[in-house]
Symmetry: C2
Subunit: 344 residues, 2 copies
């Protein structure tokens, strides 16, 4: 291990001078600087960031808490964080809560959940991270799960009543998808919703409704079905919808899994997609590319969300809190593939 002191001794100067050279500070003659630079290179000096951090009280490290890293979408968000962090010399201290494996899918055990989160936060703070990004699972409101901390904190992919957050614009995305179908000539557009008690389900419903209204179309309640986000529920709801006396000519599913179920139902019922029925999904999940036909779906700005979250952290650290948006909503993008056409 080569220390600053070793460099200083070899160069015949004080550690302060070496430090000044490393940080481009203070007054150091060109001659001395060159000499030190040379020795630095020769001895392959690598600064000990731990020591530096202790003195400067900055670690250039951001703590990332993710509810479950193996859950769909989390890696892309982390990737986005990583990209922005790296550009600014920051590292990522990752904490995976493994919430699904530990408390199941219903999150009813709020206490245990809170306990896990508190532990994670404490551990990160102990390691002196400069800020924390919390990655949720989109559908949940995490208000109150993290207690006040005196470092920058940004929530992404989840909702929080207070504090900074970064999400995508569910309502607008749903509006656009519906609008796209209408502009292609569809009038009988069905919606397969996810669980009704989630915020995104509400917002997406609103977007659907607003698009209908914009074109003076009446919302037909028998065209709105509620699934539970699963493939099977999409299959089931599609059968319901398509066996009505006046079936829809298009179905907007609130995620790609349910859209997959719709496609399977169509195969069974002998309905051709997109000739007889147009289908739009949501998420641009990888599998949507391997459906037959390839699914037209909404792509989520996941990397951008990560990058934006990190950017907020950096600006917060920079004391720019006045000028930072509390809740940022990023735009989704419709990926046009093969599952939509004009109605016959």
């Amino acid at each position: 291990m080569v220390r600053l002191k070793d460099i200083a001794e070899k160069a015949g100067v004080s550690t302060a001078t070496v430090s000044y050279v490393l940080n481009n500070k203070g007054n150091v003659s060109e001659e001395t600087r060159k000499k030190i630079l040379k020795i630095l290179d020769e001895l392959e000096y690598k600064p000990n960031q731990i020591a530096k951090s202790l003195k400067t009280r900055k670690t250039s490290t951001v703590g990332v808490i993710v509810e479950d890293i193996t859950v769909f979408n989390a890696p892309e968000i982390i990737d986005g964080i990583n990209e922005c962090a790296e550009e600014h010399g920051f590292s990522i201290l990752l904490t995976n809560l493994r919430l699904y494996k530990r408390i199941g899918n219903n999150f009813s055990n709020v206490d245990k959940c809170k306990h896990l989160i508190t532990n994670a936060v404490d551990s990160l703070l102990s390691k002196q991270v400069d800020g924390i990004i919390y990655i949720g699972v989109h559908t949940r409101n995490v208000t109150g799960l993290i207690s006040e901390i005196d470092k920058p904190l940004v929530y992404t992919y989840c909702f929080a009543d207070s504090g900074y957050s970064v999400n995508y614009d569910d309502e607008f995305a749903s509006f656009e998808a519906t609008n796209y179908l209408i502009e292609r000539g569809h009038r009988k557009i069905a919606l397969i919703s996810g669980l009704i008690d989630s915020i995104p389900a509400h917002e997406r419903f609103n977007g659907y409704h607003k698009a209908l209204m914009k074109h003076q179309l009446i919302l037909n309640p028998s065209y709105v079905k509620t699934g539970d986000w699963s493939y099977e529920s999409g299959y089931k709801m599609a059968k319901d919808l398509l066996q009505q006396k006046e079936p829809p000519t298009a179905i907007l599913a609130m995620n790609d899994l349910m859209a997959g179920g719709v496609l399977e139902a169509c195969r069974e019922l002998g309905i051709q997609v997109p000739q007889d029925l147009s289908v739009i999904g949501f998420d641009n999940r990888e599998c949507s590319l391997y459906y037959t036909p390839k699914l037209t779906t909404m792509d989520l700005p996941l990397r951008k969300m990560g990058a934006k979250s990190m950017e907020k952290i950096l600006r917060l650290l920079n004391g720019e809190s006045e000028t930072i948006e509390m809740n940022t909503k990023l735009r989704c993008r419709l990926i046009v593939r093969e599952s939509v056409s004009s109605p016959r």
Copy 2:
């Protein structure tokens, strides 16, 4: 920020005593201990791990370098690392190389690749990680990409000629899959290989071959096709195979994507799976669950690989290098779903 010193002052003792209480060391009377514990709790003392690390030269942090976190399988491995790390009070400093986005898929630019890795390693060493785990993309040999370091280093999901590594047993997995088909009565078993220049493709071919030999079956060269791991290549090779004069009754694809292509080819050719043709995939990728029919496939021990890698790091730190296996190969597990039956 509450420091050890603050606790000591409030308790009327020296910082040493407080430190001894915190670390359960030294001689401290029960009375003093209780008093300190109480104050520790009252002031919500959180040790500064940076300071502790500087003194102890241990950070309880493992650096994880992943070639691309958004690539299939990486999150599960990280999850496994995380689980084991957490159990032992370790944190994960994550470095995502984003190799695909930066140098494309061919990895021909070895220099740039090496440069990125060297930077990542240096950065982690600067932050004084106790060890490093390198997560590759399975198909590659990464020998020489990381230069010698004097800390524990474990490769997983990739091959390295020297050093510690953790992988799964490709050959045995392929042997088992083939054997399963044979035991169900198949004799005409085709193989759709991935790119032939990769280590796993070789090993899986060997497993396939050995299973045939075990049952005195002759390897029929026209039953072995080489794809490039993509859905489309699976589709194309399946068409080749199925339009031969004597088509196979079963196809083993070296990944789920190509198996998906096989299923699509079957739909087009009016071939019923599994009645007319049995199909086995490899990877247990999420999409395989949404194929029609649901795909029988090989599940990879990803979490276990992560956990095992972390375990090796810990044992290496513990000075147990004598007793640690250099290359660990973990078993895969066949997931039986709906795409295999006995031949007619």
